[in-house]
Symmetry: none
Subunit: 213 residues, 4 copies
DNA sequence: GATGAATGAGGATTCATTCAT
DNA sequence: CATGAATGAATCCTCATTCAT
């Protein structure tokens, strides 16, 4: 975590790594892990096959870099919408929901792939990645639990552990797209907004209440 | 769909097919699709490698048979709990939720695998399977939407399309386990019950209401 | 070491293994280990590439099979000439010498290869082969030491340990050809005979004695 | 062969070449030719990978430089012990034997490697090296043959060509260590002395004579 | 001269599928 | 029908060599 600015060389190296990760990510998404050859990745990243191995020790490591990237993106979404977001708690959750639905909509296939492949890698090797993932999830759950608790206090009754509710909410949002099948076209922006609002409303008020939104 | 009773030969053929599917399912679950060889499957099913090809034209077809089996199991769960279940609507949903959570808990890895692999197969070939899957899902959604509508009417307000709500509920339940990571041990029965009740309650009444359960 | 006669299947399997070993041996001899691809071996043995792997788990194992074959051949030579050979001890040694020179002349390159590669394989894996090799060598040394001792007793003086002398003699014979360089043509039969006789004579009587042969 | 003293630049170049050769030699010895990468050699010699190519046109050429070095060392041993050595002929041979056994003991693995690899290089390219090697060997054989002839004349009988006997003697000494297998530890000095004396004695007097040493 | 990132030919190995028995 | 030996296309990865800096 040194803050020394990176040298030109280091910056270029990092940039090229990112290009490779991006190429791999796109192809894995389109074709799956085993269906994508390193040669294709190299070609798509406009590098020679051997060059990839100067940046990643194996195909598996390249995959883990993608996993890491995904984790970072989820973290970023949570930070932007939940932590640094604007408005009251309920509104932040709605923003989080719509952003997450949008994101997962673009990435369901990739997420399904990652969730699956992660189980095929040696425990030892995934450990640090899963650790980071868990940590990020805990932070997200915690951030969600705060407005949940506030709302509970406001409404009077308080039957369930706010953390459990937060986990439920997050899972609902993240896997929302997994109920949509067939060729996954991206949802129109408007539809996403509505879904997000619906989810939040139901979560807080249940299905029966008359809503003013 | 002929109802003519099967001959002994046909019954035996079917039984052997099921044995093979079962073997493949277990191994795919444990090791993943590409990580499982046909040789292993054959050995585990106590057949010769070539024999598998007398029952399934390819590894892909064997995979699709598993998908089909999964669909059947979901259908069966819905039938037992929603259609033929006992008690009022809300209770049926709770039963469906707990049964489904239990089921998905045992099968998350396999479901993740299927959700992923399904995208790697030629459109043409999966079509009938996806069609059946869609049909089953529609039925489930419909079955859920009935008590939802009733409850809405009872509570007075009715802001959302009951079908959309049903889809939401089903997705919530089916993917509940995808928020749990790391080594997936099966949940204790009791915890499942609680989760199911929590989900239903929240779904109908929101988080803030005081609950009598 | 069961003596049950092999079934037809087993015999055929063994025969094919030998064909593969023979093909590999010839190519390794001609081109070296790393310079010979498994594809070439397969082609030369008139098999498909994958077939080789039904008989040998790896290229390394195939190499070890050749080593094993070489050991067997040395053992056989010793048995034929030293143990079951005819005539008095000195004559047996001469026969052994000429046979061995002949043999090593045909196989120097291969022997050099084996002596070298054996060091590149994991200790664990070579152990049983080196054990067998040692055992064979000990037997050979012992067989040589018997006439050596007899001759010593006949000549009166006895300065050196017969076993050490046997080792010396055997090494002399086995590595005789390693003093010949360049393109290794096979020696004419007659020259081999002379060399063998010379070595034995010198070994027993030294260089200066007048010889009657 | 110009005797003009080398400029500083030339001397430095030569020194760096020697460093590289030394690094390669150590690694080839430890790991084998194909098992050693140029990257390792460069690293071990504390140079950049590309730099090696400023000194040697290819890995093969680097190998040949090692061969050349070995030849030089053998030549040097012969010069020191046989040509410039002290004492009567028989004693010189004993010294040569012990020195050579010592040397080959340290280098058997490397010698085995060289003897093997030399056959994998294009005839054209090795020719000059083999030529030099032959020349050195001829000189060594000649140097050995002189005391051999003297001894023969002394002992009266003279059955064999002194040159042939010299070749035999040299080979015996050089390959002495090739009868020792397994993990090659270096022999204790004393044991080497004994072996050298034994070989010379036997060579001159045969095994049976009573010896005064 | 020194360097090391980029390259791609080359090779060991795997495995779904075929087919003769 | 059942079998498993044979097959070779396909793939990951290595590494000697080049060349721009």
């Amino acid at each position: 975590m040194s803050n020394r600015p990176l040298s030109r060389k280091e910056r270029e190296k990092l940039a090229r790594q990112q290009e490779i990760v991006a190429a791999a990510r796109e192809l894995f998404l389109r074709q799956g892990y085993h269906e994508t050859t390193l040669e294709e990745i190299a070609h798509h990243a406009e590098f020679g096959k051997g060059t990839i191995y100067n940046y990643f020790a194996s195909k598996e490591d390249l995959f883990l870099a993608i996993f890491d990237q995904l984790i970072g993106e989820m973290e970023e979404i949570a930070r932007r919408t939940l932590i640094e977001g604007e408005g009251p708690g309920r509104q932040r959750l709605t923003t989080y929901a719509s952003t997450m639905i949008h994101y997962s909509c673009d990435n369901v296939k990739l997420i399904a792939l990652v969730m699956h492949r992660i189980h095929q890698i040696s425990r030892e090797k995934v450990r640090p990645y899963l650790a980071r993932f868990s940590s990020v999830m805990r932070n997200i759950w915690h951030a969600i639990s705060i407005p949940v608790r506030m709302e509970q206090e406001q409404q009077g009754g308080c039957a369930y552990d706010p953390l459990k509710l937060a986990i439920l909410f997050e899972g609902l949002v993240r896997t929302y797209n997994m109920s949509r099948f067939g060729p996954l076209q991206s949802m129109p922006e408007e539809e996403i907004e509505q879904a997000a609002k619906m989810i939040t409303t139901i979560f807080f008020d249940g299905i029966g209440k008359p809503h003013k939104g």
